[in-house]
Symmetry: C2
DNA sequence: CGCCTCATTGAAGAGTATCAAAAACTGTGG
DNA sequence: CCACAGTTTTTGATACTCTTCAATGAGGCG
């Protein structure tokens, strides 16, 4: 067996499944039942949770940490499609049919996941139809996000695309502070570039000029302070 | 009432709903039942079926014709997100919650649609769970397509992006012929440009050079003959 | 403190957008 | 069937922006 297979240590008393929006409709007893179906696994930064083209028959729910879902092109470029963090899941496409994954998933930091077998999940959906509705709802949200991304990539200037990502990250990972919103960036400059189809140099240059304009302030390489959210929002219209 | 509201003329004896993949799991009697819930509507080329920001509470299934789903940006650009044709549907996002549409939908030609109210559709899903699964399956396919589009826009050259669209259209609208695959283009050059985030001039130029290379042959403005599908596929890898 | 990784900056080059004009196509009416 | 008008497409020249390649600088971790 895989050495990274563990019994659930971190959540014996916290019912980790309950923190996941998929299962919000369940009560404590039902959650206990779900917990029995779940296998926990941990990954270190840089480890692959899923290979591009791999066929799996389970659903993976991120319980702690962050991962990126991405593809590599033949000429060595990387396109990041999603950043999944606590509460997000992937593998939903093979709930319906056994399908090769069209992206790889890599841990961006120490990450703990809950894994539930396709069959078990399908039974859960039959037993608790609300879970199926939740899945559908998340898929629709994901469509919304991809539609926005396509509009950004197709019609916006490079600066607007970067503003857009920063606002997206602010929404998801930002914390309010007296000076503005502090973002713990999930991605490096290169990662941001690969998320919006640019080169790292371009991202670097644009972010420097955004700092000169007083829109943002870079704190080291991993944090960014949004000094003027309103102006950022305006710049992408 | 709206003057474009009709009773079903074209499909009294053909059970139009049966041609839609959503309802393939139903038998004739069940289809008859579904038919009673459906309102038919027709649109002329250029008419809007749905406005951006509009809140509706029904699902629209294209029964004949083609429509484009698109957004307009503040600076007058258009991003086409989907082309829906016979059997495709839209409005699925407000099956779960009343949500403003984030795209407009316009008829690209004479188009007939079936409209089913949200409540009725939800009841159908409860009665025939296969329909819900079908919806989920289509949503996943749509995710796949958008993920591909993002990869294309983010990592591929302009030529590769155009090849990619042509192959997509070939798949959906192409007909085999002795010389190659003939595509009835759903979009003008400008439409193609707005589908992949380029200008019409660039699309025009690249397609001309693809013709010079012997990859394609343009027949008027509305048809394209794919002379060398294999080479096109190779060019996008 | 030193090493390695990541980020920044610079200069040159490639490619697309833009603006402008000519050509081709589409559909209409004679 | 042809001519015409409106629309769409193609082609050309220029400007601008991003990419690329190269070198410097900063940050993080042992």
């Amino acid at each position: 067996m895989d050495s990274s297979l563990y019994t659930c240590n971190s959540c014996q008393h916290k019912l980790c499944a309950g923190r996941v929006s998929l299962f919000t409709s369940l009560d404590t007893e039902q959650l206990m039942q779900v917990m029995k179906l779940i296998v926990h696994k941990e990954y270190k930064k840089g480890e692959l949770l899923l290979y591009e083209g791999e066929v799996r028959n389970d659903l993976v729910i991120v319980n702690k940490g962050q991962v990126k879902a991405f593809r590599n092109t033949a000429d060595g470029k990387e396109q990041i499609l999603y950043i999944f963090s606590e509460g997000d899941f992937f593998g939903e496409k093979n709930l319906l049919r056994d399908q090769a994954s069209n992206y790889a998933v890599e841990a961006l930091e120490e990450t703990h996941v809950c894994i539930i077998r396709k069959d078990d999940f399908q039974n859960l959906v039959k037993q608790y139809p609300d879970i199926g509705l939740k899945v559908m709802e998340v898929l629709c949200q994901r469509l919304d996000r991809l539609e926005n991304t396509i509009e950004n990539m197709g019609t916006r200037t490079v600066s607007a695309r970067i503003s857009s990502v920063l606002l997206e990250f602010a929404e998801k990972f930002g914390k309010e502070s007296p000076q503005g919103i502090i973002i713990d960036l999930p991605l490096s400059r290169e990662g941001i570039a690969n998320y919006i189809g640019l080169t790292r140099e371009t991202v670097s240059r644009k972010m420097s000029s955004m700092q000169d304009e007083g829109l943002i302030e870079m704190i080291g390489n991993k944090k960014i302070l949004l000094l003027n959210k309103a102006a950022l929002e305006k710049s992408i219209e």
